[in-house]
Symmetry: C4
Subunit: 216 residues, 4 copies
């Protein structure tokens, strides 16, 4: 029995470890967002610091919105990791890909904050930002499909209908973000509006998971 436990303990990185590492990255990516808000500079004699500070609203918007997005991803990550019974090497690599997409978010946020006010650039900016939101949603879907395929890494008694519900949900999210990207090519602010709406939707609580009875 002691022998049986050893190889298991030595080859798998536990889901707790992955969660702890992911939490670190979530909390750093979310905190780095503030570095993208730059102190306004202007001639020493100039007036209107208050106006300058108010005119940074795209930076504030980007900060708040990306913060909420990463916060929701963090909450979701915990929610879903409770459904995972174990991990494997491929899943670990997919999780690193997912974290790469999360950590990237401060960059599209900075681009948004810098150029959203310039009307001629709103479409480009919105497409890029919506794409930045799509990336982690896509990586998330990949992780879920890998983990849930044949109940590979899931709790064995997780209800099949509930599994299908999540699969549908994650596919829909990806479709919505693709829709937001497409819309942004045509009208930047409308595309961004769709992204904001989607996010507000995700602030709502998620459905608690359903398990079969042990004797089934």
């Amino acid at each position: 029995m002691h022998l049986h436990r050893e190889p298991k303990a030595h080859t798998e990185i536990s889901t707790q470890r992955i969660e702890a590492f992911s939490d670190g990255i979530f909390s750093i990516a979310i905190t780095l967002l503030v570095l993208e808000i730059k102190v306004p500079e202007f001639p020493e004699g100039g007036n209107g610091l208050a106006a300058k500070l108010l005119s940074l609203w795209p930076s504030y918007f980007g900060y708040v919105f990306s913060f909420v997005m990463i916060g929701i991803h963090w909450a979701n990550h915990h929610y879903i990791f409770k459904l995972y019974e174990r991990s494997d090497h491929n899943f670990l690599m997919l999780n690193i890909f997912y974290l790469m997409c999360i950590s990237f978010l401060p960059f599209p946020t900075a681009v948004l904050a810098r150029y959203i006010e310039i009307v001629a650039k709103q479409e480009t900016v919105a497409v890029f930002y919506a794409f930045g939101l799509f990336l982690p949603a896509f990586a998330w879907l990949l992780m879920w499909l890998y983990a849930s395929h044949n109940h590979r890494l899931l709790h064995p008694r997780l209800d099949a209908n509930f599994k299908r519900h999540l699969t549908r949900r994650y596919f829909l999210t990806n479709l919505f973000y693709l829709g937001a990207i497409t819309l942004s090519f045509w009208h930047g602010l409308v595309g961004l509006g769709l992204c904001v709406g989607l996010t507000l939707l995700y602030i709502l609580p998620t459905r608690p998971p359903v398990y079969n009875k042990p004797d089934e």
Copy 2:
């Protein structure tokens, strides 16, 4: 009994998880403050590096003061989370809002450090900084009101008088910061002085919580 525990374990993020995530953000926000102190630049032949380094006192002041502020918020966060028995989705979202306000602090600190010496801008700078301090205090109050309303998330035996004591305390803190903002419109340095005074007050230890006896 086993069945009963599962849904609970799967829908709630434990207060420990929230604390760990929050700790990560506290420690990153507090450490990022040093990035706002910029190495002074001047012509290679110029003298007076020592004078330049000393003239950075607004940066040092901002660093020390915001560090202490975030440190106090961290200590407070731990203090209060010991009173919380459980968490729910809304509370989680309020905590993310609170962390967003904490993570924002390096920006008003940078604005303060950059412009406090320019007399014509002291009022704007002080209003902005006091507002930056007010935001997490306000989010804190919201969290407390939500958690303590009808003892929603609190330990069931936490004394009602002690609860009222904390509610009063957090309302007062908010009033004081609003006062500091108002004062800053009229005289920047006086407003900042009030902020510093308030903070020194918070360095004092907080009252230990009071519990009713189990048989009550």
Copy 3:
């Protein structure tokens, strides 16, 4: 017996502590990579933001590649720490040296992103980047040689053949990176290609460790 445990508990930093501290540094170094992608600047009237964003491909490549590298190092760090039974002062210092090499990676990545497109500088850039990848691999080898020498810090029943397998593997990695550095002197892109190939190889799962039976 109580007396016997005390000095042990007080002089050694447990491998768990070292892992937790290392995890923090891995997750920060990996997240800081995004700060090296700079928002493109150009005259307000200018067009072509989309083209500018696409032309940042060296930054994206550097981000993705260094992210994967640090991610693999993290996974490896966990894999190997499960083989370590205990720690000592020298090992702690070697681990700090290793973390210093990991944390340095954002800098060669930034140099790569900034200059790889300038043909005349590709050799310098590739040598520097390959050297940046070599450093943590070298520190890793030192740690392993120290820990595995006479089974100093290893689990006592870890198979000798498996130990030799890892020693060979880490020596080979170092040789390959030295090869990539040499190749880069002659042709930068070929050298980088070798680095990418090596990394893809490391994405493959590692062999599970082999233990002798307890009665041997």
Copy 4:
């Protein structure tokens, strides 16, 4: 007995919590050091990137040296926290002051890297850097004096001679850094040399603590 445990659990932040928070700050401060190494810029047509990269040696030196310093502080923090039985409010505040000094280190390091090569500024730079090293050593001494006074927070059976040994050691460290500051006024590089020497000394293992027998 249940009642007795509650107030204790609710008023004190455990030493483990303080260690975890401190670890976060150590690992972030140590990783931020790399951000102070700036990618060299020069005209696109210019040659000599290799020479430019080598000429960054003051940045590399600052990175390595400050990394080792923070690493040693981290190891020391764990070493000493094993001697502490409990914590109190003042100790918590002293620890925040200590962490403030640790987090500040990237700034003197950046000043050192930027100006150490300019001979006329070496004294200023060395004084400032040595002062940056002195600050956490001083905060450390304060923490120790507070915690060890009348065995306030120490393990009750920690040997009195061992306590005196540590007090002497920490006083000496402070004296040496004050010496390095003084020396730097007269000759910058000699002062820096003393700092490096001191640090090499601290890389040596520390003496294991001595406890009295339980029956004493």
